[in-house]
């Protein structure tokens, strides 16, 4: 039937319809899920990806794995995009999204085979999702009104437990929490007020605030700068609270290696996005002179223009000059004489962040409205001290005690570059989680506890539905169990037995009237010993928002793919279209 002639349609391409395409899509989704499956959970393992040049990437991050794999199948690509979306929105839980989505698809496909129309399945999944989300909000969410460090650290630990830095989670979770907090503390009053507003509204109606949560989201993470330098051990990574590090070294050896504030004067940093080179006219500008003496003066003027600029910057009080462009050797001398640290060819993004952190501005031109050149001292950023530090084989400029908005730098150290890259990704996830927690103030137990509880709840809920959706909701309930199951399988435990135990405990908790049994809803897996414990007490927690989002994304993806019943692949059009 995939023959174009038999369908009566003459398409320059191939067409698949009905069950064929559905089976194909589901198989593809499962294949994608299988790839990332083993990286889930605290005992998940890493993947090594080698590209055609031979560059190596070692990672445990679901989004990164999928991004790097060349997924060709269109339906599988939907899943990959979805994981990316989760990565952008929440920053964590990418692996679980893919796994849940593929499980929903598999079960959905089976239902279709049993003669249930896809639209029924879709509406069933929607109902189930709605019920699940409201259950999480009502029952599972723990509101942490005064969020102690302990909970933040626990959440960070949970997120990094599956990653390469998991073994040093005590150290890194503290690093992550400190980093996020240091950013928050330095935020202006308006920002702090914003946080509070967000926090309270979110705890009441967590999902509603999501759309406007986006701007908030960018602020802290961009202020945390992660620098990687290989050498030493991962435990030698450190946080420069309220500081900033730039991967640049002073341009001339005659410059001081550090400047610090004296008598209450802060160290002033000028951030430039312009050349401090001998001035030259733009392309195509020709100067034609009649008098040969003029040419000499032009030459002299060229040098003087830059000198005057530098003089203005120095007179404005700058102690440190950073520029994204070049600095001429002949200009270097003025800085050396003034005892100023000057670094050239800095990363522009870094400078922008530094400008924010120190309360300065990146200056692109010195021209003012009157056509003169001035350097506004307001553009200068302030900090306590700047020094050049040798790290490994190179040097970096550390800026301590920034005076502007919050900024922090985490300097990661590790055995080699692959390890550093992976540490960076892992830490990024944890930072996202901590930030989410700080914003939303709510958390849910991890380790499969939420999924098991939902599964039991949805099963009961299904029985109250009289329509065809009942079966679908039941399948949805079963599909959620894939998370505890995969966790147990990865830990090489008896998955069936553990999950059965977990379910029965949750069922007991939900059906019992007893107050004591209510706490049973926080029971989750202990993957190290292969037992069941209260994960809230054990400190395995996740931000509620992350859980809800991952359910939403997974369901949406499953629905999108299930709706497809026809696939047309066009051949490459030859000749003019």
């Amino acid at each position: 039937m995939s023959n174009p002639a038999s369908t009566g349609l003459f398409i320059n391409g191939q067409r698949e319809t009905g069950q064929d395409v559905r089976v194909g899509n589901v198989t593809a989704a499962l294949a994608v899920a299988n790839i990332v499956k083993t990286s889930l959970g605290p005992v998940g393992l890493d993947k090594m990806l080698v590209d055609d040049i031979g560059d190596v990437l070692i990672t445990n991050d679901g989004a990164t794995i999928l991004k790097s794999l060349e997924v060709e199948h269109p339906a599988a690509r939907v899943l990959v995009d979805l994981a990316n979306l989760q990565d952008q929105e929440v920053g964590d839980g990418t692996t679980s999204v893919v796994i849940i989505a593929s499980e929903l698809l598999r079960r959905g496909n089976d239902l279709v085979k049993n003669g249930i129309h896809p639209t029924t399945i879709i509406s069933g999944y929607r109902t189930a999702l709605k019920a699940a989300v409201s259950y999480i909000k009502k029952e599972m969410v723990v509101n942490v009104s005064t969020l102690g460090d302990e909970h933040l650290i626990n959440a960070a630990k949970t997120s990094m437990s599956s990653k390469i830095i998991g073994k040093e989670s005590d150290f890194f979770s503290k690093l992550a929490v400190d980093a996020v907090k240091s950013v928050k503390m330095n935020a202006t009053a308006a920002d702090v007020a914003g946080y509070d507003a967000m926090g309270s509204s979110r705890s009441a109606e967590a999902a509603v605030v999501v759309p406007n949560g986006k701007q908030r989201f960018k602020y802290p993470l961009s202020a945390i700068h992660i620098l990687k330098a290989h050498g030493k051990s991962s435990m030698d990574s450190h946080l420069i609270g309220g500081g900033f590090a730039i991967n640049a070294m002073r341009a001339a050896q005659g410059m001081p290696t550090f400047v610090e504030s004296s008598e209450g004067n802060t160290v002033k940093i000028a951030m430039l996005d312009m050349n401090l080179q001998r001035h030259r006219m733009g392309m195509g500008v020709q100067v034609i002179v009649k008098d040969p003496a003029e040419i000499e003066r032009i030459k002299k003027r060229e040098m003087d223009i830059t000198r005057e600029r530098i003089r203005k910057i120095i007179d404005a009080g700058a102690n440190v000059v950073l520029t994204t462009k070049g600095v001429d050797d002949l200009c270097m001398k003025y800085f050396v004489e003034a005892g100023i640290i000057c670094a050239r060819r800095c990363n522009r993004e870094d400078l922008k962040r530094l400008a924010k952190a120190t309360g300065g501005r990146v200056v692109t031109t010195m021209a003012d409205m009157e056509g003169n050149e001035t350097f506004d001292p307001d553009c200068l950023g302030g900090c306590d001290s700047v020094r050049e530090v040798r790290i490994g084989d190179g040097e970096m400029l550390y800026v301590y005690g920034c005076k502007g908005h919050g900024a922090s730098t985490i300097v990661l150290r590790g055995a080699n570059e692959y390890m550093l890259d992976e540490m960076d990704r892992a830490l990024h996830d944890s930072l996202c989680v901590v930030k989410r927690m700080l914003e939303s103030n709510t958390l849910v137990p991890g380790g499969g506890a939420a999924e098991a509880a939902l599964s039991v709840y949805l099963d009961d809920y299904a029985n109250t539905i009289e329509s065809r959706e009942q079966m679908v909701i039941q399948e949805y309930a079963d599909a959620l169990l894939v998370i505890p199951k995969t966790l147990a399988v990865n830990a090489a435990k008896d998955a069936s037995e553990l999950v059965a135990k977990l379910r029965s405990i949750h069922a007991k908790g939900q059906h019992s009237e007893d107050e004591v049994d209510a706490a049973l809803k926080f029971m989750g897996l202990n993957l190290i010993d292969g037992t069941i414990r209260d994960n809230l007490v054990a400190g395995v927690v996740e931000p509620a928002i992350s859980k809800i989002k991952s359910l939403r994304f997974a369901t949406e993806a499953a629905i999108t793919i299930l709706r497809i019943d026809d696939r047309i692949t066009l051949n490459d059009s030859k000749g003019p279209a």
Partner: protein, 559 residues
């Protein structure tokens, strides 16, 4: 309908690019371990005083003769991703501490090899990783206890330290010269830097910039014993004009980074000449420009003028007349060194020269001819903070190897200047850690115990390789050594209770293969190098163990 398997006519569903290759699970893990073993085996024979050199041929036909671990691995072209990641380790080690590049690979390889039985018996890699990490912490503690603080100014102690480090190298026959050179070079370029308030643990009290200020000049010819460290700098340039003076005592030196010739402006300028007169003025102006610059320079009465750019014939003429020796086209880095050695400041505009820019720190300037080339020597500097090391030797390859040895030695000195703690060498530290881990491991509960003990066993690879390379009975020597350390432990426990820690410094004399007390024998290694080696080895082993899936052939990221 086609519910089982792929529908007819459609073929298998291709999710991934068909060109990608995957290896999964056990196969990937064992493959990684084998790759690591292969890398470690390449350089195993280059450890210790009885080490052998490797000769490497590159595709262009060039040869490298070395026993420097990092250098060997850099040249070896490997394709296995894990092997590549191993090679990265030695690079990181080289950059961070500059020594121990061979040990780090051998140790990391051994850590992985020792993990193989656990992988085969289905112990989960995360459990192994956890065990390894406990062991790492424990090992670091043992090292801390074993460390000995050295006085940096104690020349004898420092010498023996450097000796143990480059004792394994090719240049060991000229050990004393090498050691003196390394010490002198590093102490010359080291300078104390003032500490700012609010500095963190990363700030150093000392600044030792070997890379920039201790330049190694290799001149083929002569003997290795002719190598020296100048108390000043030297560069391979001849004077620009043959009439200029070739020997000046206490010269006044002026450094420039601008050209001493006529140069057009940056902007495009055209001159329209309508008059013949103008043409002459133009030419004259150019000459005047150069003359002007020269006069400005001459006004300060320097004896030597060095510039990074060109010097025109006209300028040479003026200088020769004013009895000034001039050099042109010096490299920026060389110029920096001269500046630091003589106390001059590099000037970029001749009209901005000031008296304090002139360097007077140099005691003697002399041109010397070595072989067929002329070299400018700036010697007898007062308090030089930069130096040049001259290496002489039979051939280029020999010189290259000596340079590598010397840079290792200098790095060792630098590390000790930063962190004056030492650990016994000759496999003594490794054996102490191994025995210590065994003691601690038996008290550990859970499945981590196995991997924990494995780290201890893996540490023994260093004494084992040492004895293997010098050709004595490996098993006998290593067991004897182990017994020595274990006995020391029991001794300490008897006298000092459960937590007593014995300072047992017995190790292997890498030349004879006998057991010696390193304290008497005088083989020490910097604490920072040892610690870095152990940390890097364990961490990288953990990273590799955690991999269970290798996908190769995917395109560059970002597509």
């Amino acid at each position: 309908m086609a519910s089982q398997g792929p529908p007819p006519g459609m073929g298998p569903i291709m999710v991934l690019n068909s060109k990608t290759q995957r290896s999964q699970g056990r196969q990937a893990q064992l493959g990684n371990i084998n790759a690591a073993r292969a890398v470690a085996d390449i350089i195993r024979s280059t450890l210790g005083p009885r080490s052998m050199l490797k000769m490497l041929l590159d595709p262009m036909g060039g040869i490298v003769i070395t026993n420097d671990g990092n250098c060997i691995l850099r040249e070896v072209d490997v394709s296995h991703p894990t092997a590549k990641s191993m090679i990265e380790l030695s690079r990181a080690q080289d950059e961070e501490v500059g020594d121990g590049t061979t040990s780090v690979i051998i140790l990391a390889g051994e850590m992985l090899i020792n993990a193989e039985p656990f992988v085969r018996t289905n112990i989960h890699p995360t459990v192994i990783v956890r065990g390894y990490n406990y062991a790492l912490q424990e090992a670091l503690e043992i090292c801390e206890k074993l460390a000995l603080v050295v006085d940096v100014n104690d020349i004898d102690k420092m010498k023996s330290l450097v000796q143990s480090c480059i004792g394994t190298k090719f240049s060991s026959r000229w050990n004393d010269t090498m050691i003196d050179m390394a010490l002198k070079a590093v102490l010359t370029v080291s300078r104390a830097i003032p500490m700012p308030v609010g500095s963190d643990s990363y700030s150093q009290k000392m600044e030792v910039d070997i890379k920039r200020y201790a330049k190694v000049e290799k001149i083929p010819g002569g003997e290795i014993s002719d190598c020296t460290v100048l108390s000043g700098v030297m560069f391979n340039k001849d004077v620009t004009h043959s009439k200029m003076r070739r020997r000046i005592e206490n010269p006044r030196i002026l450094l420039l980074d601008s050209p001493l010739e006529y140069k057009k402006g940056e902007s495009q300028t055209n001159v329209e000449i309508t008059d013949e007169e103008d043409w002459n003025t133009l030419l004259k102006m150019e000459e005047e420009y150069v003359e002007n610059m020269c006069m400005e320079i001459i006004a300060f009465k320097p004896d030597i003028v060095i510039t990074e750019k060109g010097v025109s014939d006209l300028a040479q003429h003026y200088f020769a007349k004013a009895n000034i020796t001039a050099f042109r086209r010096l490299r920026k880095t060389d110029n920096n060194r001269v500046a630091r050695a003589t106390g001059a400041t590099i000037v970029s505009r001749t009209d901005e020269i000031r008296e304090e820019d002139i360097g007077t720190g140099c005691g003697l300037f002399e041109m010397r001819k070595i072989g067929e080339e002329y070299f400018a020597f700036f010697e007898e500097c007062k308090d030089p903070k930069a130096c040049t090391i001259i290496l002489r030797g039979g051939s280029k390859d020999v010189l290259n190897e000596i340079e590598r040895n010397l840079s290792d030695a200098m790095q060792v000195v630098r590390n000790v200047v930063f962190d004056p703690r030492l650990l016994p060498g000759g496999g003594a530290t490794e054996m102490a850690v191994s025995v210590g881990l065994r003691k601690a491991g038996l008290k550990l509960e859970g499945i981590q115990q196995g991997p924990f003990l494995a780290v201890g066993e893996a540490m023994e690879v260093i004494p084992r390789t040492l004895s293997q390379n010098c050709g004595v009975s490996v098993i006998r020597t290593v067991t004897q050594l182990r017994a020595k350390h274990a006995a020391a432990y029991e001794e300490a426990e008897k006298t000092g209770g459960e937590d007593a820690f014995p300072k047992c410094n017995w190790g292997i004399d890498g030349t004879t293969g006998k057991l010696v007390d390193m304290e008497e024998f005088g083989i020490w290694e910097p604490f920072s190098v040892k610690i870095q080696t152990i940390k890097t080895a364990v961490e990288s082993a953990c990273m590799i163990l955690r991999i269970d899936d290798i996908v190769s052939g995917s395109k560059k990221r970002g597509h």
